[in-house]
Amino acid sequence: MVCMELTGKPQNVVSAKDLNLVACTRCAKVWPVSASTCGRCGHKLVSRDSQSLSRVWALWVIGFMCYIPANIFPMLKTRTLFQEENSTIIGGAVELAHYGNFGIAAIIIFASVFIPLGKFWAVAYLAISIKAGSRISMNRRQMMYEVVEYIGRWSMIDIFVVAIMSALVQLKTLASINPGPASIFFALSVIFTMLSAQAFDSRLIWDAQVKDGGPGRDE
């Protein structure tokens, strides 16, 4: 595969905004800045979404508020012949580790604790860096954003595990597994953080470069 590095130096890069142009974020078609909807695919056109950051923060806060009860309430209600047991997300993983399933416990902890928390931190950091500037280079921040967008969906794995287990383990009197209230909060938290990341306008990261009139301090 030939990778085409482009001629010219990065400081020659001109953004569409400076040329009074606007590109459709869905289909990448270029329009004059006065156009309000994309004539090709019908998507709404905005050169820079001024509401972007406030939407990011609103969805971020909802996602975070849902994440707290998701960790307090039980995720799974396991009923066997003699006992009924409620386990939270972390409690369930600890239990798995206790029985020797370290790999699975690690996946659960990673997908339902580290990924969501990392995502909250990363989205907040990106949103703050737009206003306050950042010592991390733009390329790094762009990469951070891509990672957040790619990996955020994987938090949903815990919900699917609960769904599979509660559908599968329905053995009448012998044993049954049912979803706990935490599952709904966790799903909401994942959905709202995904929406929050999608609301972020990544073009804002690069505007600072233009403002500085060059590659700037962080190249």
Binding site: M4, V13, C27, V30, F160, V169, L171, K172, L174, P179
Partner: protein
């Protein structure tokens, strides 16, 4: 291959390409099949045409369609403990959260693991079949493709498959677990969904939808 644009430009808009991620503007030069055009600032791949990609994507989308329907209906896991048995399909798993506010979760799960991948496969076929056959695009093909792209992050079949593996290990202590035909269907589905996304060059699709017959070969 492409060059950055001078601030005072009078180039026609069709000859410009803008990086959707960082808003950098370049003069458009189409890469040959197998090559890639990258944004030099944020390194996003802008254009990456593949040989016969359109046909491949259609084949994969058809396979995905059949597999999802199969995987949703046939039992995919069965459990056996002390004489009591239970077999579930993917649809059962999606609808496991029943009663009260949990119904929301059922709908969301069904949407993420069945409806979104299914809809994406259908939309892809609807958009690409006329293009590959060198016909005029189907009515509203562009809106259909836009919807399909918007659905991309919400189509979570591959995540569900990993979830299966985790659930298996958790349940294996409790009871004997068996695999149904749908389990293997879902395994193949995961590989296909990933393949479908890697063949697709969005720019080429948009371009051929806009100029159906001018592009010499359907190089989606």
């Amino acid at each position: 291959m492409k060059d950055t644009v001078e601030p005072m430009t009078s180039t026609p808009l069709d000859e410009l390409i803008v990086c959707p991620q960082c808003d950098a503007v370049y003069h458009l030069k189409r890469p040959r099949v197998g090559e890639r055009a990258q944004c030099q600032r944020c390194h996003k791949v802008l254009i990456a045409p593949r040989r016969n990609a359109g046909l491949r994507i259609i084949a994969v989308a058809l396979a995905v369609l059949v597999l999802i329907i199969g995987a949703a209906v046939f039992p995919f896991l069965s459990i056996d403990a002390a004489g009591t048995q239970n077999a579930v399909s993917v649809l059962d798993a999606a609808l496991a959260f029943s009663g009260g506010p949990m119904i929301f979760l059922s709908l969301a799960t069904a949407g993420l693991i069945i409806i979104a991948p299914l809809l994406r496969a259908c939309l892809t076929l609807y958009v690409l079949v006329p293009v590959v056959l060198d016909r005029d695009p189907a009515p509203h093909a562009m809106q259909a493709f836009r919807l399909s792209e918007a659905l991309r992050p919400w189509s979570m079949a591959e995540i569900f498959a990993i979830g299966c593996a985790v659930a298996l290990v958790k349940v294996a202590d409790l009871a004997h677990v068996g695999f149904g035909p749908a389990f293997w269907m879902f395994g193949i589905l995961v590989v296909l969904v990933i393949a479908q996304d890697s063949f697709m060059c969005k720019w080429s699709v948009w371009n051929s939808l806009e100029n159906p017959r001018t592009s010499s070969a359907p190089r989606t």
